[in-house]
Symmetry: C2
Subunit: 128 residues, 2 copies
DNA sequence: TTGACTTAGCGAAACCTTTCGCTTACATTG
DNA sequence: CAATGTAAGCGAAAGGTTTCGCTAAGTCAA
């Protein structure tokens, strides 16, 4: 038995999560509209994917409502943190904060973002 | 046809890459020793995985030597950057530096790492 | 050269993810 | 209550990853 919520979401799963993060709680039809736009897949496929994701604990749903309303089980921020932690764990052997930053460093970061980042580092230092 | 080097490495692939990053260039036997230690898989499996990864462009090898010597096609740093960029692209819609930092923020980061990070931010600012 | 051992590779099985056809259930409206 | 349209779900096909058995080729020492 697979542990709930323990696995990296697969490609399509991540795509659906992102739709849910953007749209907020939504019925299948709306999720499907977005997914089909990007991939041209069938309605059944979306339903099935959501059911798989439900089993894996990646999404939750309200079954009282009709149609059922789905939502992401994690916030985008939590997910980002989780994926990132796993990434670091897998690529390096755990703590590798500065190296990850280095990875980011070549990307485009606005002045604003850099300032925000500084603030964050200050906070982090306070805590540790 | 799949573009070379365009896909996220799968679980086992990443495991092998990490072994190669740690060990440096190595013959199958040594890679296998490490992999088997962690997973208990067969020698054939390691050979096959390496051949798959060769096709995908994730590893390279020197065929003149016997036994063949494999090496990672990317440095750990490059890979980390690539994966991270893809992660950001997928979880957010691109640039999300501060959010990624936030993701990191709750993790354990040493004073040293935080200082290094600050230096990096200074450099980044200089460039932009 | 033969036998024992190491290395390389193929092809298929096993397994997981993604896709969809088809069926059943539900709701609405004439 | 039909008839029509929407929603949910199952099971199997299609496609990708991971595993390994088996074969063949290469190496080395007696």
């Amino acid at each position: 038995m697979r542990e709930l919520g323990s696995s990296q979401p697969t490609a399509v799963e991540l795509e659906i999560l992102r739709i849910l993060w953007e749209l907020g709680s939504s019925p299948v039809r709306e999720i499907h509209a977005r997914l089909a736009e990007a991939k041209g897949t069938n309605y059944s496929t979306t339903v099935k994917m959501l059911s798989v994701m439900l089993t894996k604990g990646l999404v939750k749903r309200n079954e009282d409502a009709t149609p059922h309303i789905y939502r992401a089980a994690m916030t985008r921020e939590r997910a980002a943190k989780k994926f990132l932690t796993e990434l670091i764990e897998k690529v390096y052997d755990g703590s590798a904060m500065s190296l990850v930053l280095q990875a980011l460093a070549s990307g485009k970061a606005s002045k604003l973002e850099i300032d925000e980042a500084r603030k964050l580092l200050d906070e982090m230092e306070g805590k540790s």
